[in-house]
Amino acid sequence: MSARNRELFALIPASLLLTAGFAAVFIQRENLLNDLSLTYGAIFLALCLAAHLVLRMTLPDADPYIFPLVAVLACFGLVMLYRLDEEFAREQAQWFVVGLIFFTATIVVLRRDHRVLERYRYIIAFGGILLLLLPRLGSPVNGAYLSFSMGPISFQPAELAKIAIVIFLASYLRDTRQVLVIGARRVAGITFPPLKHLGPLLAVWGTAMALLFVIQDLGSSLMFFGGFLALVYVATNRISFVLIGLGLFALGARVLYAIRPTIESRVDAWLHPFDPEIYEREIGGSYQMAQSIFSQADGGFFGQGFGQAIIQLGDNPPILPAAHTDFIYAVITDELGLMGAVAVLLVYLLIVERGFKTAMLATDSFSKLLATGLTAVLALQVFVIVGGVTKLIPLTGVTLPFISYGGSSIVANFILLALLMLVSDRARRESAA
């Protein structure tokens, strides 16, 4: 069976899952089975088919599993959002259309050879950093500069910037990876990269640190820096470079922790979410963190079922804030239980596996590094937000890719997906030949 036919068949269960999900929400809400759920399922399937046709025409050999897996995530997200607020789901569906347009556009523009991106690496890097600085023009939300508003549209440039930075690093490291390894010297048992080529890397580190100080968000900095380290590691196969990088990041984070009260309160809320004093704090308290945990505790093994999570009473302030964005994983755990939450993690893990597989199949270094970097930032983003929601690490606000409500996140992740498919198509064709 050809790759595209496999993809087509895999999309059918994803659409059925969405149909079943909506049906469950309807039953829960009105105690009746509404044929509207079939309509939603049909629309979703139509959207998937449209994207599938684009792939069929442009990238016939691309990985057949990635897109259906993303469709499963999107369906989880849509059902959850619909259950929270119909308006969210409707807007999210519109963003999916926009995301698919960007997906198609990216593929159409780069379909000949995505490696043209290398030519523009400095422009892309510069653009990415500029994007990250945009929110400084506005005012911070929860102490971090993450979103930028233009009229009615507010978007989070970090989502797009992560792709730009990965493209730049993949390209830069393709050039310098050999010299980084060959010129390395051992000092006191640790292998240091050659100073000459360390410069640009230090510049990247400096930029990541500067960003950390500028946007003051540990989560997105961790995502960027983690992506950077993953790429350095894969490019050089030197664990010592990673350790040096981690040490430098820890140093920067420590300094920021000392001077920024917002970071300190995040850490407080992470370490002692159930301390009444911290819980009651008006700003930077642990209320959200504690509610996230309580919400998960309600879930148990199999969850309470759609619509059963306690999120808001009447018009009062929500009991679980940001249920549609930062804490959607807590709602999933509450309503679908440990089983549902782990299923979502597994879907991400499968996408990550396909992403790394693509990187391993790719024949040129840039494509390898690009696929690795894109996959790594996606995995890290999931880790940062789910880790934050589950109290594994301090909570920082990034979206859960393809599930959380949010236009910039959807659009950026569809572009990421398009790049991954482009790399995959070429890699699979060349490895088959």
Partner: protein, 480 residues
Amino acid sequence: MNAPILRLFGLVLVLFAALAGMTSYNSVIKADDYRDNALNKRPLIEQAQVKRGVIRARDGSLLANSIKDEDALYERRYPPGAQRFSHVLGYDYGLTIGRAGLERSRNDALAGEKDEITSIVSDLSGKRRVGDNVITNLDPRAQQVALDALGDRRGSVVAIEPATGKVRVMASSPGYDPGDLRRSGVYTRLSRQDNSPLFNRATQAGYVPGSTMKVVTAAAALDSGDFTPESQVSGKSPIIVSGVPLKNFSDTQFGLITLTTALTNSVNTVWAQVAEKLGRERVAEYMERFGFGSDPPLDYPDAQMNPSGVFDTKRQRLISADAGSVDIGRVAIGQERLRVTPLQMATVVATVANGGVRMKPQFTSRIVDQDGRTAERIEPEEAQRVISAQTAGQLTQMMANVVREGTGTAAALQGIEVAGKTGTAELNIARSINQPWFVGFAPRSQPKVAIAVTLENIVGGQGGVVAAPIAKQVMQELLR
């Protein structure tokens, strides 16, 4: 470059395993702890989403019900007549001040919290969870009589059906309006008020029992076999007890008198000698059998009940009456460091009235589901045989004498023989501030009601004058 990519994937696997681990920890492993966390209002909100059962008095009148508020949560309401049972009912404002009283002790039934299997079955059958109704043994009219008789004085009345332990009356004055507690700030204001209206004096107060304690001493004396109602003991006053002179009331002198006479006239010196002769261990043992030293087995929250006994002020806790430091002669007449609840004293007389068998006191008569079926009937339950039937009979006769011709004549009822004992604990002799008591039961032959009445800080008040008439009115209403 493929080897490091593979290792990178390995790292991602580890990170995701950690995520799955944390999720399991939160949602399954530690879930119960998190649900019990004081900051977690979710279980309370879930309960507020369930229509809570009503509470009814014995005559069927409504004491508490639930209505839906604008947030689709149920809110507790207490009809005007429920105010007289404020302490017994408690309140259910789970999301603000919590729960107390029957609302707390019968919460599982009222909230419809069934066992796991039942709830899974009803979940599957799509039935909405509803709470069961609680039908109590409480008698609203007798309760009103008790409250009216107490008036604006502080005090308490407890009335129990001896054969079954059914609690008919439990009044504690002053009370409060449970409906008021819904408004924010009221609870804090009431809990700071000097006259402690939230405090259930019937189950929580530590009062000096005075001469009512002689019922316990007499029970021990007769049941031990060392004494009979006709045993003669000298009633001269004062005598030295534990190195300190002890006087009779008004320093009255008695010669050699029987125990019957000594109870009728409440002769301190006789009962002190009796207890010293019985010894600490035996008095302590009988006290324990009557229920002293442990929380009463009442369907009421432990937090709102205190045990009775000898209270060590230094260590701030009860000590056994056989401890070396205890002056047993003064325990026998209700002095020393005795602290008792009105419920304990009502239990003592109810036990005598029931032929020596102590029954568990019970507020609840049965639990009825929303379809009117009885889900649970609360059967009378024996707590312990305290004294023999013969002892109980002899003691009844002695107590009947108290009301017929002794200190308790004010409790006598027309045509119904009453057995009882008065008490007047002198709290401040210089300012003659007393704690008057009456404990007793009626009718003598087939007791239907056992009662304890006490009032706080009555200047010059004596049990036979102040407390006995209140007992008379309440018994009269209950025997109607």
